[in-house]
């Protein structure tokens, strides 16, 4: 079965954003909701939802045009549209009667091989299919998305013994390949996996903070980054989820869970939270929550609530200096520190980890599903069991014992929950036996390769790995994957090695961001010392290295995900092809720090503009390049990168990050047949006339206040490079000519105080300076 058309019923936040994400896969969707009483427009709910989606932040659509793939309607008039849908997702109010009555209508209108699933987060599947005919049961399951569906990779799947495996297989495959989801099979238990553990953790953290006088800032500072948990911590996440959603979840859990379940210990709503909900402080969507933005004298001040008094005061950064050293040392040091904040972290975390360990096999047959659910559903960097391995299971169990707390059987038997067997990652079961972690076909993880083999080459910033079938993989691994001289040396050595021993090269890493760009620290040092020859060397080395990569005798395919900025964008522009993860935020952002792309970024981007097959002339390609680079445009997705011309016709997009490396490898192997390096491109550039034209535009922007004084200087240098310097369009420039222009402009800018101020500001604050 092949999913080519989808229906979503219920255009609330979840239903609508699920519909949006399905269009990101290029699949048309019907989005239906009820007809409100006395509505003049019977489709008003779904139509309004799509309008909201277009403005949602972070963006629900990967490309604005995707909204056209949604057909809006209502369930009274348009249910018959669903006759040609292959999958219908129900995302209506959490009321079993309403859902079942809808299912009966769907069962009648949908074709026999159409899967019907519910996005319920609280109702058991058994209840939903109760008294429904077998013909319905065989095509029904729960597909539970996490909010926001475009960005949260977890999809919890719950099926019943009556569900035909064909449907489970089809939806798993579709969600994996087309929607980029990590599908985790769950049992039909309350809250499934993610919310069962996640809500427990949130409530424990909330109740314990109130009881022990921990402030919201302190709680969130410790219950986050130190453990690889997003910086929203406990209270920030509760604000994001919405406090009003908590009481119904607690009520549902109370009814559904067996009396001995540890969840009951945290299952009560503190008075302060009830009061906040009553007064409309339901979180970010309401008047505020534990945090709020308050307007004081026109300025927006971030305030936090006092958990004792319920009053708001200006948020103070939590002072964690007492535990700073412990935090640096290791997790054991942090968790055993006697500071009240560290002790809070130990209590909240240890109870959560014990609760998770106690739920195997109740909610999942093995620990990998639980880890995956917490990673992909709550954005934890490590799942509970991976975290336990990092802490040290024996130490953890000993500490429990010292507090007279029992250790869950899973922990009592094992000193380590994951292990490796001849390089393969294995995990333990309750009996203490290890089993290999299975990867689906088409999934190749660099982390697995790194566990199984040794690098072919390695230095402080990058490594080269053998990923099989004659393909090597170049990995950056410096901080934020910034590029420095070691990265360049590794590229050089890799070119040499791959030329002799491999057929193709893939550039990839499994960090959150492909590369934040060149290492500005090195550049700053040289500028401070007025060491211009070093600056020149930095630029020339990057230019030569990237040219070497471009003209290497083998295909180079990059497989980026996340940020690829500045120098990290430039390397992508030099590859034969890019296999991009859909979440790619790529851009030549150098002007933000008072520079221009100097490692061939102008050269490669200009070529894309010149080769664009559109009626044009000498000027439009230059204007296009100037606008993109001059505004430091960053793509909002890989689809957007295509629109911005950062990605071209040879480049492809992978939705599932776990499939990125395998897809890139396939692409590299395909290119390696009869591979010939690209022919050098000749640049017909208009020269100074274009510079004058762009200068006039900059001047107009400056006059109206849209460009700062220093923007004028930086844009002027950029205009000089992109116009082709003193050239004439009848005498094309070579790639080396453009590189020389880049170098010249770069050297001119680094000597200016305005650039230094921008660099300085960026390194200190992470934000561009508008000088």
């Amino acid at each position: 079965m092949n999913i080519q058309k989808v229906g979503v019923i219920g255009a609330g936040v979840m239903g609508a954003s699920i519909a949006a994400h399905i269009t990101n896969a290029g699949i048309p969707v019907y989005l239906l909701d009820i007809v409100p009483n006395d509505a003049s427009n019977r489709n008003v709910i779904a139509e309004t939802a799509v309008k909201k989606l277009l403005d949602s932040e972070p963006a629900a659509f990967m490309h604005k045009n995707n909204a056209r793939l949604i057909t809006t309607g209502n369930i009274e008039d348009n249910l018959n549209w669903l006759a040609d849908a292959d999958w219908v997702i129900e995302a209506v109010i959490e009321n079993p009667q309403i859902k079942q009555s809808l299912y009966q209508k769907l069962d009648a209108v949908c074709k026999q091989d159409c899967l019907i699933s519910s996005n319920t987060s609280t109702l058991p599947l058994a209840l939903l299919v109760k008294d429904m005919p077998d013909s319905f049961k065989r095509r029904f399951m729960i597909t539970h998305f996490f909010n926001p569906p475009r960005y949260m990779r977890l999809l919890e799947l719950v099926s019943s013994p009556a569900t035909d495996p064909v449907f489970v297989e089809a939806v798993s495959r579709f969600a994996d390949i087309k929607l980029g989801k990590n599908c985790v099979t769950c049992k039909d238990t309350p809250g499934f996996i993610g919310n069962r553990i996640g809500i427990y953790w949130l409530l424990y953290g909330l109740l314990d903070a109130i009881e022990n006088g921990i402030t919201v800032e302190q709680a969130d500072a410790v219950m986050s980054a130190p453990f690889g948990i997003p910086k929203t911590g406990i209270f920030g996440l509760l604000d994001l989820v919405g406090l009003d959603l908590i009481p119904p979840i607690l009520k549902g859990m109370k009814l559904a869970l067996p009396p001995q379940d540890a969840f009951h210990e945290v299952n009560h709503l503190p008075d302060i939270v009830q009061k906040m909900i009553n007064e409309g402080y339901t979180g970010r969507k309401g008047k505020g929550g534990f945090y709020r933005l308050n307007k004081v004298d026109g300025a927006r001040i971030k305030e936090s609530i006092n958990l004792v008094t319920g009053d708001y005061a200006k948020s103070e950064k939590a002072d964690l200096t007492a535990i700073k050293d412990a935090q640096k040392a290791d997790l054991q040091a942090l968790l055993s520190h006697n500071d009240p904040v560290a002790q809070y972290a130990w209590r909240a975390l240890s109870h959560t980890l014990c609760y998770a360990a106690s739920l195997v096999p109740e909610i999942s047959d093995d620990i990998t599903g639980i880890d995956a659910a917490m990673r992909d559903g709550y954005n934890w960097k490590f799942g509970p069991f991976e975290l336990l391995d990092q802490i040290g299971v024996s130490w953890f169990v000993d500490k429990l014992k010292s507090e007279n707390r029992p250790a869950p059987p899973l922990l009592a038997k094992n000193s380590s929950l994951y292990s490796t067997d001849s390089g393969r990652l294995t995990f333990t079961d309750l009996a203490g036996n290890y089993h290999p972690v299975q990867r689906a076909e088409g999934i190749l993880l660099l982390s697995d390769i790194k566990q199984q083999t040794k690098p072919l080459l390695k230095n402080g910033s990058a490594s080269l790995w053998d990923i099989g079938d004659g393909v090597a993989c170049l990995e950056f691994h410096s901080k934020m994957n910034t590029l420095d001289m070691d990265s360049m040396a590794m590229i050089d050595q890799s070119i040499d090695k791959v030329s002799k021993e491999f057929t193709a090269l893939v550039i990839h890493n499994d960090a959150e961001n492909f590369s934040a760009g060149a290492n500005l620290g090195l550049l700053m040092k040289a500028i401070h010392e007025s060491d211009w020859s070093t600056v020149e060397l930095l630029i020339k080395t990057g230019q030569q290295t990237y040219q070497g990569l471009k003209y290497a005798p083998f295909p180079v395919v990059a497989a980026p995900s996340g940020l690829a900025l500045g120098g990290g964008c430039e390397i992508l522009l030099h590859c034969d092809a890019v296999q991009a993860h859909a979440e790619l935020y790529m851009g030549l952002v150098e002007v933000g720090v008072g520079l221009i792309p100097g490692w061939g970024g102008c050269k490669e981007y200009m070529r894309r503009c010149l080769q664009l097959k559109r009626p044009s002339g000498p000027i439009p390609p230059v204007v296009k390049a100037f606008q993109t680079i001059g505004l430091a445009s960053v793509s909002k997705s890989a689809f957007d990168a295509k629109e911005l011309l950062y990605l071209g016709a040879n480049d492809s997009i992978t939705m599932n990050k776990d499939r990125l490396l395998a897809d890139a490898k396939t692409k590299a192997l395909a290119l390696s047949k009869d591979y010939a390096p690209p022919k050098p491109y000749l640049y017909p550039m208009p020269g100074k006339t274009a510079k004058v034209l762009l200068d006039m535009g900059i001047k107009a922007f400056h006059l109206i206040g849209k460009a700062t004084d220093y923007d004028v200087i930086v844009s002027g240098q950029l205009a000089h490079v992109l116009s082709g310097g003193e050239s004439d369009f009848t005498a094309p420039l070579t790639e080396d000519d453009i590189l020389a222009l880049e170098l010249e402009a770069f050297l001119a800018l680094v000597k200016q105080p305005g650039t230094l101020a921008r660099l300085d500001h960026m390194l200190k604050t992470g934000k561009p300076l508008r000088n």
Binding site: I619, P686, L693, L703
Partner: protein, 378 residues
């Protein structure tokens, strides 16, 4: 010497660029409908027409390739009519009338269609491949100065504050709206058919303008400036056409003689204050006609900007009662190449309507020029 008369005038509706009804209409098709309309309205025998002279400020793309000749074909006119596209920026189609008048007096033709055209939706101001001369820009950058900046310069030079500019704009809006409400444009507008939709009404007017609304707008060109979108003529799509012939021909063929062309002139000035161009051009035309400014009864002064029009009025003290009776370009729009034909044709028709003797039509032109035409009632 032969007398030259204006024997017909019409135009398309003027609609705002990008969002107006003409945004999706090819400019050559647009002008062809207007030319066809002029031929049918005047009942002229097409075989007698010597030339179609068409002014356009950015004659490229869909209005490129000597579009005047193509419009002869598109309008279904005989092949024997020649076609010429000319460019004097905003003065282009007034210049077309001057060329025809000169040719008629040289005995080089009896009847001419003088038209103007601009799609500011489909061809960007500045064109697709603007390639300024770097050496000129270095020594004389004002050669390429933006029009908004010239308006700011005039507002400074003549100390015209923002409030005065807004009052002038509001007045233009009021006059245009009143004219529209009273159907005074109906006679001059040729409805344009585009994909079975008929566009027959001007679209740029802002009848809901208020002093407060105008005062609230941000400056459009300079952060510290006084010129706003409300006191500038909007980017506009439109075409206009005038039938110019010898008086003898008009008499022989019983064409309605709207006005006689008395004199005309072009002039140059500093490009950074191009908006003052009408002053010198008007003085020249007046002196060639042997008239004084006070003799003029009707004035069509193109409103590129409020500041620019007010600066001209400081040098040419024209009573407001004679000025732009049905509103000007701030309200109606300013499709660059088409405006000259519009205001000259309009001045001729106003002479008839108001039963007056002399009319002046004058415009400023980018690059620092002025153009003026004096008409006399018959």
């Amino acid at each position: 010497m032969k007398n030259v008369v204006i024997a017909g005038y019409c135009r398309s509706p003027f609609t705002p660029a990008q969002k107006g009804g003409l945004a999706r209409v090819r400019p050559d098709d647009l002008a062809a409908q207007v030319v066809k309309g002029l031929v049918s309205k005047t009942g002229i025998n097409p075989d007698d027409i010597e030339d179609l002279i068409l002014g356009c400020a950015f004659p490229e793309g869909e209005q490129g390739l000597n579009v005047a000749r193509l419009i002869v074909f598109l309008a279904g006119l005989p092949n024997t009519i020649a076609g010429m596209t000319l460019n004097r920026f905003c003065g282009s189609s007034m210049q077309a009338i001057h060329i025809a008048a000169g040719a008629i007096q040289m005995n080089a033709g009896e009847v001419f269609i003088c038209a103007g055209l601009e799609s500011m939706s489909r061809i960007p101001m500045g064109g697709y491949n603007n390639m300024p001369n770097p050496a000129l820009y270095e020594t004389f950058p004002q050669a390429y100065i933006s029009m908004g900046d010239t308006a700011e310069n005039l507002s400074k030079k003549y100390q015209i504050n923002r409030k005065e500019q807004e009052a002038f704009a509001l007045d233009s809006q009021k006059k245009a709206y009143a004219a529209q409400q009273q159907g005074r444009f109906d006679e001059e507008i040729i409805p344009i058919t585009a994909k079975s939709v008929v566009i027959d009404k001007d679209g740029c007017l802002r009848p809901d303008s208020t002093p407060e609304g105008l005062a609230g707008l941000n400056p459009a060109f300079q952060a510290t400036g006084t010129v706003t979108a409300g006191t500038s003529s909007p980017l506009t799509d439109g075409a206009a056409a005038v039938l110019v012939c010898s008086e003898d021909y008009a008499d022989a063929h019983k064409l309605p003689k709207m006005a006689r062309i008395k004199s005309f002139a072009v002039s140059g000035c500093a490009p950074e204050i191009m908006g003052i161009g009408p002053v010198a051009a008007t003085h020249k035309a007046l002196s060639r006609a042997g008239l004084k400014l006070e003799d003029i009864d009707i004035v069509e002064l193109n409103e590129a900007f409020s500041a620019q029009s007010l600066a001209v009025l400081k040098e040419l003290p024209i009573p407001l009662s004679k000025l732009n009776l049905d509103g000007g370009a701030i309200a109606l729009g300013h499709p660059l190449g088409a405006t000259g034909a519009r205001i000259t044709g309009k001045a001729a028709s106003l002479l008839q309507r108001e039963n007056k003797r002399y009319a002046l039509a004058t415009q400023c032109i980018g690059g620092g020029q002025g153009i003026a035409t004096i008409l006399e009632a018959i």
